[in-house]
Assembly symmetry: C2
Homo-oligomer: 133 residues x 2
DNA sequence: CCCTCTTTTTACGTTAAAGTCAATACATCA
DNA sequence: TGATGTATTGACTTTAACGTAAAAAGAGGG
């Protein structure tokens, strides 16, 4: 029942290169199993890759992404470790909330620029008395 | 009525280095005026710097940020330019909305990890019969 | 079994975004 | 006016995240 993905399947699905996947492996972000020397990616590996790409879209570094993935994967035993984990979670959450606010502001500004552009366009339309086809 | 900021004031306010500000200037992202050789930043320059840093937090490259800032600053004359501007705005908006979705997902996952950690902690608490002070 | 095609490994190159260092240039304050 | 501190400029270095190229090793097909 274990379905595997080849490296090229994944590069095509996610539009990345083999170099990229091997680099992520070298950084300890994924660890595909091997059939001989060939890499075989499990669905779990595929999920990790999705997480990595999502992290990248949000502007996190590979090191930060690695930390987050390890947070998901770990089941730390003792209380000290758990407190530390909770702290890390809180910190990440703060960052994400800040990014959310940043996005809101940027979207608002885009709205303004767009409104200005539309205004300018209708000016041009009426002044030139031209008609769109 | 024109208040100026020195470079060190801004580095302290935004926790960046002078090298960074001069680099942004070399890239055409800000253009402070000069008193002799010394740089003087206007409130407008300061705003641009804020925009740059916000863009960076969202994972945009300096080139992308430059484009966005120029979108704000420009008042393009002809219709073709305006259409192009509207297209760029639409594209940016898409990116930002994707980032929003990415953030939502990541926050949900953090919630799960946190819930798991809390569960694990209460297990440890009851099993050890210890009390917090 | 040979040929072709894909994968892997190794190594060096590249780009963005600064960091670091050295040499001047100003400015000020005692 | 000389010392002291801050700014500027230019050059070289660094780091992250890959790109690119070359050589060797399998994989499958006829």
């Amino acid at each position: 029942m274990q379905r595997y993905f080849t490296i090229t399947q994944l590069t095509q699905e996610f539009d990345i290169t083999t170099r990229t996947l091997r680099f992520y492996e070298a950084q300890g972000l994924v660890a595909p199993t091997r059939r001989g020397r060939q890499r075989l990616y499990t669905p779990g590996d595929r999920t990790r890759i999705k997480l990595i790409l999502r992290g990248k879209r949000l502007g996190f570094s590979l090191n930060e992404i690695k930390e987050m993935i390890e947070m998901y994967a770990s089941a730390p035993g003792e209380t000290g470790q758990l407190r530390l984990l909770l702290d890390k979670i809180a910190a990440r959450r703060e960052e994400l909330l800040e990014k959310q606010r940043d996005i809101e502001l940027t979207l608002l500004e885009l709205d303004e620029v767009e409104a200005g552009a539309h205004a300018r366009m209708s000016e041009l339309d009426t002044s030139s008395l031209s008609e769109d086809v």
